[in-house]
Every structure is written in structure tokens, then in C-alpha cells.
């Protein structure tokens, strides 16, 4: 009775889903390694006859190297802001007993419910008034702000698991809140911090609406916007377009290989708790 018989139906279903997930990824990859005429002639499912890397080279030469760099800048800055601001916030939420802190926490919980679409009109004017329209800083600031609620939620969850005894032990010795934060809280919530790093990086890298509305020139274009423009302007060049899609995915997939747990935990923090 201990070992149940294998579930063939579930096994079959899992392979069907693998096909659904894998098919477009396969089409994407094989398309990028062939020329446009070959792709048009052989169809999306055929394996490339004449292997070529031209699509990638052309994309990088026609602006995607710049877009890639812009996206890296946005991502690094967003992560920097989040990592600087959220840990002290989470520490306060977990440890402070002030009424104001509770209010702030509720404000961030409310923030979970604000979709970025909803504030895009005033954001356009706030950023324009601040002179940051078509400037990467104008993309970075709102992107970081909208990553904060989830990050705060994740990190308070982690910090709450630090047992009160440890705080007691330090405060009995007369440690200041600052010392408690740096010597106890931060070291013990390393996993949470790496989760919010990965999560906010993902938000920044994949962000689309803020760049769409808040930038316009080639110098400030991020990679998601580059994909959209490529599609609307030169969408018939499917291999070139899909090579750009692959370029946009590459860094995330590499991070996924190395930091899968932090990422999955972050996503669980959103929905699972």
C-alpha cells in the first residue's frame, strides 16, 4: 500500500503541457537561426537548413545593444533603491510598536492593489513636471515604487520569523536599533533580501508600461519597448524579431539557472501565504 502505482493519465497530461509550453519556444529558437527567405519558405516548424547568427548580429547593430544597456541601468538602479529602502522599512514594521508604523504598513498593503495602469496618466504628468520625461530616471523611480509593496511583504514575512529571544539577548546588552539591524536582522534575513533583489530585478527587466508612456527616443529605449517597436515597424522580419525576443530573455534565464530558489520563493510570497 505504501507505493502507489504510477499515474499514467497524469504522465500523459504532463507531456501534453510540455508540448504547449515548448512549442512556441522551439519555433522561436529555430526561427532565429535561419534567414528570412528560409523561414518564409520552410515554415515555422522546420529545422534550419543553413545555420546563421546574422539575426542576432543585425539586432545588436540596429539598436538592441543600446536597449540592452538601458535595461541593465534601469534594473540595477531599481534593485539599488529597493534594497536600500525596503529592509529598514520591513524592520520597522516588524519591530516598532508605533501607530504610525501600522498605518504605513497598511498603506503598502493597499499598494499591492494599485495596478500601474491605474496611475499612468498622473505619472506621465508628475514625471514630465519633474523634467524627467524621456529620461531613464523617470522610468526607474516609478518602477522601484511599484516593486516595493511586494518586496515589503516578502521581507516582513522573513523578518517576523526571527525569534524574539534573539532580540532580547541583544537589547539586554543595550544594543541600539541600528546595531540590532546590522548585526542581527540583516544577517538573518539574507535569503529574504536575495529574494527581493531577484524579484525587483525581474520587475524592472520586464517592465513595459512605464517605459512605453514615459520615454520616446532611441537613447532611452528599454528592451521590452524595443521589441514592441520592432514588431510594429518591421514585424514581417520574424527571425530578426524573435532573435530580439531571445536577447531580451537571455539574462533572466541565466539568473533562473542560478537563483531559482530565491525567485520561486519570491513568487510564492506573492500568492502562497
Amino acid at each position: 500500500m505504501r507505493k502507489s502505482r504510477p499515474n499514467h493519465l497524469a504522465g500523459f497530461g504532463s507531456l501534453v503541457w510540455l508540448l504547449v509550453v515548448g512549442l512556441p519556444l522551439y519555433v522561436m529558437l529555430v526561427a532565429t537561426f535561419q534567414s528570412r527567405p528560409d523561414y518564409a519558405a520552410n515554415g515555422p516548424l522546420a529545422f534550419p537548413e543553413h545555420f546563421t547568427l546574422d539575426n542576432y548580429v543585425n539586432d545588436l547593430n540596429s539598436g538592441f545593444a543600446q536597449y540592452f544597456l538601458n535595461t541593465v541601468i534601469v534594473t540595477v538602479c531599481v534593485v539599488g533603491i529597493v534594497v536600500l529602502l525596503v529592509p529598514p522599512l520591513a524592520y520597522t514594521i516588524v519591530r516598532s510598536r508605533g501607530r504610525a508604523t501600522t498605518t504605513v504598513f497598511r498603506l503598502f498593503l493597499l499598494g499591492l492593489a494599485i495596478p500601474s495602469q491605474a496611475v499612468i496618466v498622473p505619472m506621465f504628468f508628475v514625471i514630465s513636471e519633474a523634467g524627467l520625461y524621456d529620461n531613464l530616471i523617470g522610468v526607474i523611480l516609478p518602477t522601484a515604487a511599484f516593486a516595493m509593496p511586494v518586496c515589503a511583504l516578502i521581507l516582513t514575512g522573513v523578518m517576523r520569523d526571527i525569534t524574539p529571544d534573539l532580540y532580547e539577548a541583544m537589547t539586554v546588552d543595550g544594543a541600539s536599533p541600528r546595531r540590532v539591524f546590522f548585526q542581527l536582522v540583516l544577517p538573518l534575513s539574507r535569503s529574504g533580501v536575495s529574494t527581493i533583489v531577484v524579484f525587483s530585478a525581474l520587475q524592472a527587466w520586464n517592465g513595459f508600461l512605464f517605459p512605453l508612456v514615459l520615454t520616446q527616443s532611441v537613447e532611452t529605449k528599454v528592451i521590452t519597448l524595443g521589441l514592441y517597436d520592432f514588431q510594429t515597424e518591421r514585424g514581417v522580419d520574424t527571425p530578426g524579431l524573435l532573435a530580439a525576443v531571445v536577447l531580451s530573455m537571455l539574462p533572466i534565464l541565466i539568473v533562473y539557472l542560478f537563483a531559482r530558489r530565491a525567485l520561486v520563493q519570491g513568487l510564492m510570497g506573492v500568492g502562497g501565504k
Binding site: 504532463s14 520597522t92 533562473y256 502562497g272
Partner: protein, 314 residues
């Protein structure tokens, strides 16, 4: 002390915050000042725009002259606007279809992935990939794969008819629901996987002794035990569905005609194509109200705002 200086925690604030607590553990607690930088930043770039949306929804504004207070005019106009009414129905339809397709699928996948077999772990890792990609990349990818002339439908006319999935309302909606499902099923699968693993094994052992088969175990043990996760997951789908924007912009541009113009996309058109910022703000406010109500329900159900009572009474 090697990192950047934290916000200064002045001792007065610490003491007053601490002394309101009980007894010995009051000392050494951070003051409110520690939360100020994050609160100010978030307030400036999320709460202030939100308040502006609410104000603008009662004003007429083209973005050039000063906004003019017009009371409920925007709301009245929107309620008389057939495209707006249609967009609300389409938002609801897309959301309901999304929930109806994704929920059974992600429950099955989640329960399946909860098993600890090695092949399941490997496949789950692959299933997860679509969730990592940007909505923009996924939409561009599917648009290319489903292209009427160069994509898969052109080579599988036995399945897709004339091959133009973007040509009729029914097929265009089908594409939108399918692409969202493709991308977001992993998120919900993950929720159900965690919940399925938390089901006490003793329940299954008891059921096996009673001779219950796999199907009965699923319906009488697993499914009832997943109740809370189903609520969470469905609410996430509802909020996500109501605010779908990128997918529509890239895959269908709201077409054919206005047949897939859902509210969030209509808001974008109102604001940045016809420069009617007042009406756009009214639509935005409507979206916020709906998703706030739903999120408050989540918070209540999960007990997240009552954190103090669980850990701090010690």
C-alpha cells in the same frame, strides 16, 4: 557598519515608540524614522498619483490648459459610451474565461507537481519558464507564432481554417485567453503545489485504508484542502485579468474593430490617443476601486494585517 548609513534613529523616538510596548522588550526597538524614506518614496510615486487620478476623474483636461472641474460629467459620458460599456463586458468576459481555463489546469498541474519524483521536478522547472518572461516578449512571440501568413496557422489550415486568428472576435479573445494562460498558469500551479504538499499525509493513509481510489481522494481530500489557495489564486486572476493591458496592445490592438478593447486598453487609448485625460482617469479609478475591494478581501482572508497578534505577544 560597512553599509550605507540607515536613516538616523534618534533615541527620543525609540524611547517613545518603545515605552508604549510592554515591559522588558521595549528597549532597542526602531523608531518610525526608519520607515520614513520608504514611505516618502512610495507616497510620492504611488499614493500621490493615485490621489491625482481620483481628482482628475472629476475634471476635463487635455493636458495643455488647466484642468477644469466638471463634476460627474466624465462618469456620465462614460456610462453613455457604448465602447466603454462594451469594454467592461469584455474585461469581465476575459477574466471569467481566464479563471475558468486556468483554475482546473493549474490545480491539476499543481497537485501533480507536488509529488517528489525527479521527473516532475525537472518538468516543473521547464513549465515555469513562461512566467519569467516579460508580457511584452511573450506577446510578441505568440503574435509571430500565430501570424496568419508566416506562422503556424498558415501551415496547419486543417486546424485553424483560414489561419487568421486575429480576424474575428471569438478567435481573438481565444488568443488573449490562451496567451495569458500560457504565461500565468505557472504562478497558480506554484500556489497549488505548495498547498498540496501541506495536506497532512495521514488523511491519504486513512482514505487508502477505507479503499478510496485516486479520483475519490482528489475530490474528497485534496480539493477541500486547497480551498484557501483557490480563493487566493482566483482573486489574483481577477485582479490580473481586469488590468490586462500589454497583451491586448501587442496582440490585437483592441481589434478587430473594438472587439477586444477591454477597459484598461480603452483607458490607454483615451489618455494617449485622444488626450482625454479626465475620462481616462475615471476609467483608471474604476479599475483601482475594483481591485482594491478584491485585495482587501485577500488581506482579510489571509489575516496578513494581524501580524502583531501572532509573534509579538511573547
Amino acid at each position: 557598519m560597512t553599509r550605507n548609513a540607515p536613516p538616523p534613529a534618534d533615541s527620543g523616538a525609540v524611547r517613545s515608540a518603545g515605552s508604549s510596548g510592554s515591559g522588558s522588550s521595549g528597549a532597542g526597538r526602531p523608531g518610525f524614522l526608519w520607515a520614513v524614506p520608504a514611505a516618502v518614496f512610495f507616497g510620492l510615486f504611488a499614493i500621490v498619483p493615485l490621489i491625482m487620478v481620483a481628482v482628475l476623474s472629476f475634471a476635463s483636461w487635455d493636458g495643455l490648459s488647466d484642468p477644469e472641474f466638471t463634476g460627474l460629467d466624465n462618469w456620465r459620458t462614460l456610462l453613455d459610451d457604448p465602447v466603454m460599456i462594451k469594454s467592461l463586458w469584455l474585461s469581465v468576459l476575459l477574466t471569467v474565461l481566464g479563471v475558468a481555463v486556468q483554475t482546473p489546469l493549474s490545480i491539476l498541474l499543481g497537485v501533480w507537481a507536488a509529488g517528489h519524483q525527479r521527473n516532475r521536478a525537472v518538468l516543473s522547472a521547464i513549465y515555469f519558464v513562461p512566467l519569467l518572461l516579460s508580457i511584452a516578449a511573450v506577446s510578441v512571440l505568440w503574435r509571430a507564432v500565430l501570424d496568419p501568413n508566416l506562422g503556424v496557422p498558415a501551415h496547419a489550415t486543417w486546424l485553424f481554417g483560414d489561419g487568421n486568428l486575429f480576424g474575428t472576435q471569438a478567435t481573438a479573445i481565444g488568443v488573449l485567453v490562451f496567451v495569458s494562460t500560457w504565461q500565468f498558469t505557472p504562478l497558480h500551479t506554484l500556489i497549488y503545489q505548495g498547498a498540496a504538499r501541506a495536506v497532512p499525509p495521514v488523511l491519504y493513509q486513512a482514505a487508502q485504508i477505507d479503499g478510496a481510489g485516486r479520483v475519490r481522494q482528489f475530490f474528497h481530500i485534496t480539493l477541500p484542502q486547497l480551498r484557501n489557495s483557490i480563493i487566493t489564486s482566483v482573486i489574483l486572476m481577477v485582479v490580473g485579468g481586469l488590468t490586462t493591458f500589454d497583451t491586448v496592445l501587442i496582440l490585437t490592438q483592441g481589434g478587430p474593430g473594438s472587439d477586444t478593447t477591454i477597459s484598461a486598453y480603452y483607458m490607454y487609448q483615451k489618455a494617449f490617443k485622444s488626450f482625454d485625460y479626465g475620462a481616462a482617469s475615471a476609467i483608471a479609478l474604476l479599475l483601482v476601486l475594483v481591485s482594491t475591494v478584491i485585495s482587501l478581501i485577500v488581506v482579510r482572508l489571509s489575516g496578513y494585517d494581524k501580524m502583531r497578534s501572532t509573534m509579538e505577544g511573547l
